[in-house]
Subunit: 364 residues, 2 copies
């Protein structure tokens, strides 16, 4: 398989009559298959089925989903247009519950759409709404790309030669508009010439670590070792892990962090072994409406992901299953949160508020 | 699928011209397939390929392997017979490195064989060696069955109504001659009328928990919930787990315990959450020659178990893999070790020596 190093999880192709092109991540690593999404239902399905996944990427995909939805919609009055917009936003809002980037992106799209629709000069027949929505979605996409690079620059200083860095799930180019969050930090450190080993957990049930993270790391020539999730503690014990670095799906005001299930266990194990544990995420992953982790809803996914992964039967039919897609790592186990504005450390409500309150990048 | 509740992982069928019948555990849960082993090479292969697994069961299988090997062997002198015995024992000793029951069983078979061969009245042509070896292997099998029941009786008192009990890998009838160690404790508590929920980790890479433990628990009507290994910490956090109960492949003189990879992480997590962590194992699983866990060799198994489980490709070809089959849980994280002679608690060299030194069952 050959491909460009600048792997793009999702990209808008063409102008207002274009489409959203995504990598079907359920087919990796065997096949790099691109899929074209032409309507909002296809975008929703791609998010639900994890063809596209990763908190930043699903936010961006949903933004383009609003564009596609409103392009399909037929309306003759501003009221109709607004009703369509609300229906489309609702459709996308209910695709996945945990990652907050989805809601932030949809709020932004809704605000722009509503502003246009409720403007005195809105002409429902001119259909100039789609270009405005497309411009906003493109802006969200561009902003996410810029955020990734800024996070990577902030975090790369933590990575030293010879380190073993444990990561979980996938937080690279495939999880974002470009480059990634936690993996982006590692890409940047590697580009800066540092040499280290990344230990990638396989990340059951859907193997984002085995399928996607190893794929991305190898693409960039970074030394990679794959392990089963349950071997992480033992590798820590043997002194092979010097840093744990993960992404986030939502961060509460106090720093409690929702991320892929298994993150909680890794943070506890890092704590036991005295290993620094960092989260890398854009400030758009914070949810100040959630005062702590208990306010973050955790998606329970199908038992079949556990019992019949990719069609392979590994458990008796009908067995009860716990399959939370995420868990919540308490703030006190997190050494620091790497954002585009700087590293929040120690992780607590005060330092988070200070970071989010700062206007310019890097807390200047 | 229908089968008797008294599922037997392995059993000798017939007299001295009989064979060892095992369940091919790589086919479960889809198919309950019995396999007949007629020679020592087949026994070795069944152990290496995990058709038969579980520390007590591979010890017993190896004992019958010696019987089959010596039945095949052609010798005309005592020296020849002894050379064959040594070759066969060596062949089986090198099948798997971590579980000590294998070595204990082989030592016992070797002692009996050597005693017969070196006796003044040994007649190499009479071939009365095989019946003696078969009697010893049968005795080891019977003893393991008795040990399982005694462990279950000792441990069942720990299990209370309404508990959530987390277990790892498979430690039931399939891992032993009958009934099991950690699972045996749960079977006994259930037979005594207690009602509780068992949380079974899937146990990557080979899914002994998903494939075998859920199968055995369901067979006995015990409420079972399957989870991915990496969800265990999060379930503990939510208060669903009140006890962790696992088996052992080898226990050092100080109580450090080798068991299926992932056990170390579960013990650390139990420690963090203040949850009691028990090991259930016969005294034959202790290795007093190992003063602590550092003396126990850890088997590294094929990367393909991780990257292509049961033929399903989940990672790029050729990626480096850490695949330790076992890990070592430090004694200080183990609340107690349930043996056939009683519960060793606290777990330390002194209490272990006292337990092993006691002659009669149950420490009387």
């Amino acid at each position: 398989m050959k491909f460009n190093r600048t792997l793009r999880a999702l990209e808008w192709v063409g102008a207002r009559d274009g489409f959203l092109r995504i990598v079907d991540q359920t087919r990796l690593p065997q096949e790099l298959r691109f899929v074209q999404l032409h309507d909002v239902e296809e975008v929703r399905e791609a998010i639900v089925s994890l063809k596209i996944r990763g908190a930043p990427a699903i936010g961006v995909a949903a933004a383009f989903g609003v564009v596609l939805g409103m392009r399909q919609a037929r309306y003759h009055t501003a009221a109709d247009a607004l009703a369509h917009l609300e229906r489309i936003v609702h459709l996308l809002r209910t695709s996945r519950p945990t990652a907050v980037n989805l809601f932030h992106a949809l709020e932004r799209m809704y605000r722009v759409g509503k502003e246009a629709i409720t403007a005195p000069d809105f002409n429902p027949l001119a259909n100039d709404l789609v270009p405005r929505l497309l411009a906003e979605a493109q802006a969200i996409w561009e902003e996410d790309r810029r955020l990734c690079r800024a996070i990577a620059e902030q975090g790369a200083v933590l990575i030293q030669d010879g380190m073993g860095i444990l990561t979980h799930c996938n937080t690279g180019a495939l999880a974002t508009s470009d480059y990634g969050t936690a993996l982006g930090v590692l890409f940047m450190a590697h580009e800066q010439g540092r040499r280290f080993t990344v230990y990638a957990t396989e990340t059951r049930p859907l193997w984002q670590g085995a399928r996607l993270t190893t794929f991305e790391l190898r693409l960039r020539g970074i030394e990679t070792v794959l392990l089963c999730d349950n071997a992480a503690g033992w590798l820590m014990r043997q002194g092979k892990i010097h840093l744990v670095l993960v992404g986030a799906d939502r961060i509460a005001a106090n720093g409690d962090t929702a991320n892929k299930v298994g993150t909680y266990s890794l943070a506890a194990l890092a704590q036991v072994h005295g290993i620094p544990f960092y989260v890398a995420a854009p400030t758009t992953s914070f949810d100040l409406n959630a005062s702590d982790g208990t306010a973050i809803p955790i998606e329970q996914r199908s038992p079949l992901e556990v019992t019949k992964p990719f069609g392979l039967t590994i458990a008796p039919d009908g067995i009860a299953v716990e399959n939370p897609a995420f868990d919540i790592t308490p703030a006190q186990w997190i050494t620091g949160i790497i954002t585009e504005r700087g590293i929040v450390q120690p992780v607590e409500a005060r330092t988070i508020a200070a970071c989010l309150g700062s206007q310019s990048p890097r807390g200047e």
